[in-house]
């Protein structure tokens, strides 16, 4: 059932896709308590996702990947956003709350990490899936019918009987299907999946990934998949963006990034994936920990942990620049003498 993505060879032409969402210099500031001051979690992020494209956003906890995703839908009420998020030619950051609300669920939808805590415990599954449609004025019977159709499509067994069941009566895997159904019932064009498999056990993870793979292929759905699991990236995404300390440090086709990572951080991440043929006593980990957003080092935020750093790294912040078909933010690419 699992779809195998053929690795594109280096000579193949990158298919030109119509851009669906383009993000330009996006920053996210979160307030610090009630002090009035704030901290910049996402620091100038640019990327584009094409129609039907599957992109993975990878990074350690605290790198800002979830906040970036939420910023695309303006979900954090406290976050202060700046930059541009163009979706279908409109800047989402300039929309009124009411217009943004209309886009949520129908154009851009989201699947979340923990399916239990993201379902309202007091509302039936059927009502929660149908709600996306009911909010838009679709009649009760019609909304219920469409909710049932989506639940059926996602393989919720005995869906018709279980429309009136409550979340606590479902298993973890079934709940994740319900959360996915909630996102898909509005027929969005972009699905943001925020670590949708992290809280599930491995067998269920595979099922949910296959499902996501299936659905996005069938519906031509673009997916932004947030994860820290590189195995999931390799199986699911076409392109991968690596985030570190609030910035994108590398962005490229999955196959070429995995084969030849350019940024030392990406190299470290790939090296840190345990392999079945590897001696378990020599598991690799990148030394140190990501800097807290309030104490980012000067220059390249990764330089204190980087084994290839040189003088310039502590001084200048490297910009994201094209390297072949990828984009990388690292001074190494300019040569040490430059």
């Amino acid at each position: 059932m699992k779809t195998v993505h053929p690795l594109p060879d280096a000579a193949s032409v990158v298919p030109v896709r119509q851009p669906l969402i383009s993000v330009d210099k996006l920053t996210v500031d979160m307030p610090l308590g009630r002090s009035g001051s704030s901290v910049r979690i996402v620091d100038g992020v640019d990327f584009t996702i094409g129609v039907g494209e599957r992109v993975a956003l990878v990074g350690e906890s605290g790198s800002g990947k979830s906040l970036t995703a939420r910023a695309l839908m303006r979900l954090d009420r406290l976050a202060k956003l700046s930059g541009r998020v163009d979706f279908d030619g409109t800047d989402l950051l300039k929309l009124s709350d009411r217009d943004m609300g209309k886009l949520r669920g129908s154009s851009i939808a989201m699947v979340f990490q923990d399916p239990m805590s993201f379902l309202d415990p007091l509302m039936t599954i059927g009502d929660q899936v149908a709600e996306t449609l009911r909010i838009r004025g679709i009649g009760k019977a019609e909304a219920r019918k469409r909710a049932l159709a989506v639940l059926d499509e996602l393989g919720v067994d005995r869906a018709a009987e279980r429309l009136d069941a409550y979340p606590h009566e479902f298993s973890g895997g079934m709940r994740q299907r319900v959360v996915l159904a909630m996102a898909l019932v509005g027929e969005p064009r972009l699905l943001i999946a925020d670590e949708p498999t992290t809280a599930l056990d491995v067998r269920v993870q595979d099922q949910v990934l296959d499902l996501l793979d299936d659905v996005s292929t069938r519906r031509g759905l673009a997916v932004l998949f947030i994860t820290h699991d590189l195995g999931v990236v390799a199986g699911f995404a076409e392109r991968v963006m690596v985030m570190y300390s609030g910035r994108i440090v590398e962005d490229g086709e999955v196959a070429s990034v995995f084969a030849k990572p350019s940024h030392p951080y990406t190299q470290g991440l790939i090296k840190a994936v345990p392999r079945i043929d590897q001696d378990l006593n020599t598991l690799y980990a990148i030394p140190g920990a990501p800097p807290p957003p309030l104490a980012r080092p000067s220059g390249c935020p990764f330089h204190p942990r980087c084994d290839q750093r040189f003088d310039r790294c502590g001084v200048d912040l490297p910009a994201l620049q094209p390297v072949g078909m990828s984009r990388v933010a690292c001074h190494l690419l300019d040569g040490k003498g430059a």
């Binding site: 129908s106 993201f118 415990p121 509302m123 509005g186």
Partner: protein, 347 residues
């Protein structure tokens, strides 16, 4: 059918529990009678009774029997609805309560409505706009009202609204000549039943200030409880999921955030209903209204033991009933409580 059986099993369990509570309260009341200084027969016979009269009363009331037998006959009388005889009105306490109670229940009912109608919307707005101007002012108001003694608030409002601005009457429950035929004993209800709208609005006009004073104290608790509970719920993940569906703030608050924060508010308002009847003592006295509060106040002042204890039993019953209603409401709101209380039959 299965669900019906599960519900009736739940109800009978809760009713049994309520009866057990009332039995405990009755025993406590009996103990209080026995521990009170003074001779019951003397109290019942009156201060001027002769020794022979007192002995006659003692025999008639069975006070010469052993205490344990007295206890059982006390419980037996309670079961028959006999709360004893008031030494002041010389009427059975139950008959007295039937006269004064509707007026109190009316006051408490309107106060509870005012309480919830003000505190719940205020709590929602304060929590949703946490740290905003409304949040700050309503929290300060809540602290001030909550820290103010009820009688003081009542006196100040009587003075300002009743005496200086003269917008509401300061005492009584209706104006002269406004009385409707007594059916229930509650002035607003009686006026409504007689289709006498003049009298109805007159009675409302009289009840609004005491009800507001009574509500103010309790509204601060509901406001704070709901605000705190909502703040927690608003931070939870499923609220973000609801927003991600494109729900408006109003839809999110009313359909998701509020139901999920209601449980502590329901529990609190259950205990409040009992406490409100207790606080009615003060409000009814200050506003010169009839009711169980004024009745108890006089009973205490005149050492009318059976009137006091009858009222206590009665308030206890009301509290048990209200808590039963709260239990059922919680069952209706939360499917998880339903599953736990009713078992698989309830699903």
């Amino acid at each position: 059918m299965l669900a019906f059986r599960a519900y009736s099993w739940f109800l009978s369990r809760r009713l049994g529990l309520a009866l057990l509570t009332l039995w405990g309260l009755a025993s406590l009341v009996f103990l209080m009678i026995k521990l009170m200084p003074g001779d019951e027969a003397q109290m019942a016979a009156g201060a001027d009774a002769s020794a022979a009269q007192i002995e006659a009363v003692r025999e008639r009331l069975g006070l010469d029997a052993p205490v344990i037998m007295q206890y059982f006959s006390f419980l037996g009388r309670l079961l028959r609805g006999d709360l004893g005889t008031s030494i002041v009105t010389l009427q059975p306490v139950l008959a007295d309560l039937e006269k004064v109670l509707p007026s109190t229940l009316e006051l408490v009912f309107i106060a509870m409505l005012l309480n919830l109608a003000v505190a719940i919307p205020a709590g929602i707005v304060a929590a949703y706009r946490q740290g905003g101007v409304f949040d700050a002012t309503s929290r300060i108001t809540a602290v001030m009202l909550g820290g103010m003694p009820a009688f003081w608030l009542a006196l100040v409002l009587q003075y300002v609204l009743g005496s200086v601005w003269r917008v509401v009457p300061i005492s009584g429950q209706q104006s002269y000549g406004m009385a409707s035929p007594i059916v229930t004993g509650a002035p607003t209800l009686d006026a409504l039943m007689a289709l006498n709208f003049g009298a109805f609005f007159d009675a409302l006009h009289h009840i609004i200030l005491p009800a507001a004073v009574l509500a103010a104290l309790f509204a601060t608790q509901i406001f704070r409880t709901l605000r705190a509970s909502l703040l927690g719920v608003l931070r939870s993940d499923f609220i973000m999921a609801v927003r991600a569906k494109g729900a408006t703030a109003r839809h999110m608050l009313v359909r998701h955030a509020l139901p999920n924060s209601l449980n502590p508010v329901l529990t609190l308002s259950g205990t409040q209903a009992g406490a409100m009847i207790g606080s009615a003592v003060l409000v009814e006295t200050v506003f010169a209204r009839q009711g169980i509060g004024a009745y108890m106040f006089n009973a205490v002042a005149q050492k009318d033991a059976f009137a006091v204890l009858g009222s206590v039993m009665f308030i206890g019953t009301v509290v048990c009933l209200v808590n039963l209603v709260v239990d059922i409401l919680q069952l209706l709101v939360d499917p998880r409580i339903r599953a736990a209380q009713l078992g698989s039959q309830g699903q």
